[in-house]
Amino acid sequence: MSTVRIPPTLRASTGGAKTVDVPAGSVREVIRGLVTAHPSLHSQLIAPDGDLNRFVNAFLNDTDVRHLQDLDTPVADGDTLVLLPAMAGG
């Protein structure tokens, strides 16, 4: 299992859960698994074209997945995926 950390903005859709355990796979598969378990996350996380919403950044073990293999990045058992708003600025 991998762990997905849920930011406060999304916790209403996970029944208040801060983390959700999802079977490992690729980042895409983990997010798909998360949305399957908590369907109301779909509108927040998934863009109309089926990709990850551009306002969501995904970090695998604290590294932006765009610096890895993006949604194809493999997620192993014990890994942590963090979903955060795309919000950076000095």
Binding site: S43, Q44, L45, F59, D64, P85, M87, A88, G89, G90
Partner: protein, 455 residues
């Protein structure tokens, strides 16, 4: 009581508050000029809160106004009667009233740079000298607004993720309102910026990583602690503070806009909010609506926005490891990058990528020709003026305003980059630096001997 009262600040705030009371009639007071928050992407509306993410689509939240209400008291004559500082533009800021305690932010000079203009190749150049703010950068504007709301919301601490200028601004503002400050920075930040934040009593947390690593950590810390992070969970308020640059420039030019506005681009937030500031003034009829070309400057070693501009796309490809002396602009994953590209492109402007050596030369030029000493972002901005002129974005006769956003004392090592000899080593002036005489004995004969050799 008297000993604890900062007389100068209180006097300004009291004067400002009195003016606003006089200028607001009872009817308008019944209808709020601040109407709430809305998502920039999907438009989802919600009441004002410490919130920055749209619960519907995860997009960025912004404060919304009723411009008709705001405009009813926001007239040239009313503004011109008010005390200096950013609160003279209160109607277009997301706070109910000028705060009782605030640093004296804004009303910085707009200086005609007649000596620098020909060096950069432009005909008319104004420098907005925001090195003059309380913590020596434009960040005081954004932080003042965020802090006013943080106090109103009753946060337990102020915090920020900083590339340097924000560190000092947040620490200073927290000191002024009596809140603890937590400042998160990349561990290898310039020492002067770290010391600056420490001086105001902040707790500085160095993080082993890039600014983007710091920012990601702070997103999670903000969620867990409830601290008021000025540029994260207070960001909708913080971002609005930068609009005051536009209001001041318009007023200082005699209520009109320039042909070209040149600004540094890090996250892109200030760049886009300055444009909104001019747009609001035009919408309210305080200035004539004329096209403004917006030019942004980035450091070549961290230029994701400039790269997107050159490629003709809105998609920002993040930079993992910035490589530049321009630390204040070293954001590899800019939140408002997409909007910054759109603004530059739609306005007929550009985003310029500036090599570090050119930035250093621009710092030296503006310091020796205009008596203004900017930190690295100011060097980038002035080099971007020259680059945009070469590109044809700036044309013959154009009136150009460039934003000098921070003071060079924060980045002393940058000035000497690329000089053939001389350097600042260990914070001490090393011999051999251009302009620096050798140490002489305290006698007139020694002076005359040196002068004879030198001339």
């Amino acid at each position: 009581m008297t000993l604890e009262t900062p007389i100068r600040q209180r006097t300004n705030a009291a004067a400002a508050a009195a003016t606003f009371t006089d200028a607001t009639d009872a009817t308008d007071a019944e209808r709020p000029r601040i109407t709430g928050m809305a998502c920039r992407s999907c438009g989802h509306a919600q009441p004002l809160a410490i919130a920055y993410v749209c619960p519907a689509c995860f997009g960025p939240l912004e404060v919304t106004y009723d411009l008709a209400i705001a405009g009813s008291t926001f007239t040239r004559a009313a503004i011109e009667r008010r005390a200096p500082g950013i609160w003279r533009y209160l109607e277009l800021l997301p706070v109910d009233a000028a705060p009782a305690r605030s640093l004296a932010v804004g009303s910085t000079p707009l200086i005609a740079a007649d000596r620098l203009a020909p060096v950069l190749g432009v005909d008319r150049l104004w420098l907005k000298d925001d090195t003059r703010n309380p913590s020596l950068s434009f960040k005081d504007r954004a932080v003042a607004v965020a802090t006013a709301q943080a106090v109103a919301f009753g946060v337990s601490a102020l915090a920020c993720a900083s590339t340097g200028n924000l560190a000092g601004a947040t620490a200073a503002a927290a000191a002024a309102v009596g809140l603890p400050a937590y400042v998160f920075i990349p561990a290898d930040l310039e020492p002067a910026k770290v010391d600056h934040a420490l001086a105001y009593g902040a707790t500085v947390v160095p993080v082993a990583g890039t600014y983007d690593d710091v920012n990601r950590l702070c997103l999670e810390v903000a969620d867990e602690t409830g601290w008021g992070f000025v540029n994260i969970n207070l960001r909708p308020f913080y971002a609005e503070g930068s609009k005051t640059l536009a209001y001041e420039i318009a007023e200082q030019l005699g209520w009109r806009s320039p042909d070209v506005l040149v600004a540094p681009v890090a996250s892109g937030a200030m760049f886009t909010r300055v444009a909104r500031g001019f747009e609001e003034l035009a919408a309210l009829g305080l200035i004539e609506r004329r096209p403004i070309r917006y030019v942004g400057g980035q450091a070549q070693g961290c230029s994701p926005v400039a790269t997107a501009f050159e490629r003709g796309t809105d998609e920002i490809e993040p930079i993992r490891e910035p490589n530049t002396i321009v630390r204040s602009l070293a954001i590899g994953n800019p939140a408002d990058g997409r909007y910054a590209v759109e603004l530059a492109r739609d306005s007929g402007g550009s985003i310029e990528a500036i090599p570090d050596a050119v930035t250093a030369e621009a710092i030296r030029d503006v310091a020796r020709l205009e008596g203004i000493y900017p930190e690295t972002a100011g060097g980038v901005t002035l080099a971007a003026v020259a680059a945009a002129r070469r590109r044809g974005v700036i044309r013959d006769g154009d009136e150009v305003v460039a934003l000098i956003t921070g003071n060079g004392l924060k980045t002393p090592a940058a000035r000497t980059l690329g000089l053939a000899e001389g350097s600042l080593e260990g914070g001490r002036v090393a011999p051999g630096q251009p302009g620096l005489a050798p140490i002489i004995r305290p006698s007139l004969s020694a002076f005359e001997a040196w002068l004879g050799d030198a001339s």
